[in-house]
């Protein structure tokens, strides 16, 4: 069973192509009773910074039609906690771990990358240059190709870990950003982060979220995410596709569009075992079609797909 789904992403060997999306699975512990982290392709941690970040004022989430907005503001316990508590635990569980890295400036990203570089517990890094919910860092880096280039280049110099860069859909040309990220030495692309959105409470006549705007995720955004992955498939880097994936059919569509693997976020909140169900569904689908490995699906629907590495 394992072998049919076994694959790799940007040089990271994966048990299967279904990963936990950053910020929706904590550090793996929170859902451990329901989802053994070792059953996933990988756990991508909550966005983590050098020092602990407090996050944004509440309310931080609100449901929308078939989606949700979040403005967590990257609350996280910081690098030391990650290294001392979370990584050892994740390793003890046999999880493949990708650390989602955030910073307020290039130096902070670089320092995080350097600190994690030699850690065996870490299989790869995902640079979050696309969080819409923080003033400094986040989307500011991912909105312009040259800023993104400079950041990735600086980080690349300080780590040999496989480097995924997480892209924002809130740009005029995501492919252009991706190309510069590639040129700067990234090993893979994660797409997409959330779309900027907001909700207003008719009774209080105020924005619902403490931060006014938030990031839209969930099934509502799936078509946008799929289009982004489709376009990114031509860039020549492996793509980790995500955005609104709910079931194995969605996952298969992302793979066919050109994603080397997928991540599941918001669906986990509704169905904690969604990722495990997706793994099982993909397995069955491959079997039905008589395919030997999931990589045979990748890019199947997309003539512009350019296989990489």
């Amino acid at each position: 069973m394992a072998s049919r789904l076994a694959t790799s992403l940007a040089g990271i060997p994966l048990r299967n192509p279904v990963l936990a999306a950053s910020g929706t699975f904590g550090y793996g512990r929170e859902y451990a009773g329901l989802v053994p982290p070792a059953c996933l392709g990988a756990v991508i941690t909550k966005g983590t910074s050098l020092e602990p970040w407090p996050g944004n004022p509440p309310p931080r989430t609100v449901e929308t039609v078939a989606g949700m907005l979040n403005a967590i503001g990257l609350e996280n316990p910081g690098l030391a906690h990650l290294v001392e508590e979370d990584l050892p635990w994740l390793q003890s569980q046999g999880a493949t771990v990708i650390v989602n890295v955030v910073g307020r400036c290039v130096d902070e990203y670089v320092e995080m990358a350097a600190a994690l570089d030699r850690r065996r517990e870490v299989a790869g890094l995902e640079l979050n240059i696309s969080c819409p919910n923080v003033d400094k860092g986040g989307m500011a880096f991912g909105s312009h190709p040259e800023t993104a280039y400079a950041l990735v280049r600086a980080v690349r110099r300080r780590t040999r870990l496989p480097l995924l860069v997480k892209l924002s859909p809130n740009v005029t040309d995501i492919v252009r950003v991706a190309e510069r990220v590639r040129d700067a030495g990234a090993d893979g692309l994660s797409a997409i982060n959330t779309l900027v959105g907001m909700a207003i409470d008719l009774d209080s006549r105020r924005p619902v979220l403490g931060n006014v705007t938030g990031g839209l995720s969930g099934p509502a955004i799936k078509p946008v995410a799929l289009a982004a992955v489709w376009r990114l498939a031509a860039v020549g880097l492996p793509v980790l596709g995500m955005g609104g994936i709910w079931d194995w059919r969605d996952a298969a569509e992302f793979l066919m569009a050109g994603a080397a693997a997928v991540a599941v976020g918001t669906a986990t909140f509704a169905r904690p075992r969604a990722m495990l169900e997706i793994v099982a569904g993909l397995e069955e689908y491959l079997e039905c079609r008589g395919l030997k490995n999931v990589s045979e699906l990748v890019g199947e629907a997309n003539p512009t797909f350019r296989a990489s590495g």
Partner: protein
């Protein structure tokens, strides 16, 4: 924490939009403590998307009772559930109330806030802990759980905003007078909780508050259900929903 398909044993409309839902959920019943909640799927597909949190209002033999009010789409869907149907349920989640030894428990409930306090009353009854209750609602029809309190022998006073039953005014008016030797356990709208906080401070009695926040995961993974506390944000789903009265900073 369990993820179970609980089957509906009984489902009763209590009027004013309130419903009492009794579910067969042995694993949850076994583990849950007063103040904890279950996170419930209200649809089978992608809309409405997120689970809804509800306090456990009573524990029976392998069963739990929810007492909820229809306020929006999710609770409206819940209200359509028939006996024999199945509810996808994650729980028990969160922290619980703790009955402070040596102090009479005063349950302070506003509206649907009665739910977790009924379970606390049940525990007090089971353990012989002294307890009384003050219960408020907008109007008489919205005062629910009064029979349960009676059954558990909990002396209770009532208040309504429109004076249709009991005291005419906020339920916290019923806390006037000395609270010496007592501890407050409150759940209800923010304004009520603030008042309870103030009263407790004035009289230097301890207490616990059950807070609400909109929740995505319910298990501490998303960091979405923050509330303000001294020393930073806390998560309502895992640090709470029950907090020490002194710990949290209530807005407004």
């Amino acid at each position: 924490m369990e993820l179970v398909g609980a089957s509906v044993l009984t489902h009763e409309a209590l009027g004013a939009g309130y419903h009492r839902l009794v579910l067969a959920a042995p694993e949850v019943a076994l583990q849950c403590r007063p103040g904890q909640f279950v996170h419930v799927r209200v649809s089978e597909d992608r809309y409405p998307l997120l689970r809804r949190p509800f306090s456990v209002a009573r524990r029976g033999d392998g069963t739990i009772t929810l007492l909820y009010r229809v306020v929006g789409k999710g609770t409206a869907l819940l209200a359509g559930l028939r006996p024999g149907g199945c509810l996808d349920l994650l729980g028990p989640l969160g922290s619980g109330f703790e009955l402070l030894p040596g102090r009479r428990a005063v349950l302070v409930a506003g509206g649907a806030g009665i739910a977790p306090l009924l379970f606390l009353a049940q525990l007090a009854w089971e353990t012989g802990h002294p307890v009384r209750a003050v219960v408020g609602a907008a109007q008489a029809a919205e005062l629910v759980g009064t029979a349960d309190l009676g059954e558990l022998g909990v002396p209770a006073a009532y208040a309504t905003d429109d004076g249709s039953l009991g005291h005419h005014g906020p339920v916290t008016d019923l806390l006037e007078g000395s609270l010496a030797g007592e501890a407050l356990y409150a759940c209800g709208p923010p304004a009520m909780l603030r008042k309870v906080q103030t009263l407790a401070r004035e009289q230097a009695v301890p207490g616990q508050l059950s807070l609400e926040a909109s929740m995505a995961c319910g298990v501490g993974a998303c960091r979405g259900c923050a509330c303000r506390a001294h020393g930073g944000y806390r998560m309502v789903c895992t640090d709470g929903p029950v907090f020490d009265l002194e710990e949290v900073v209530l807005d407004g």
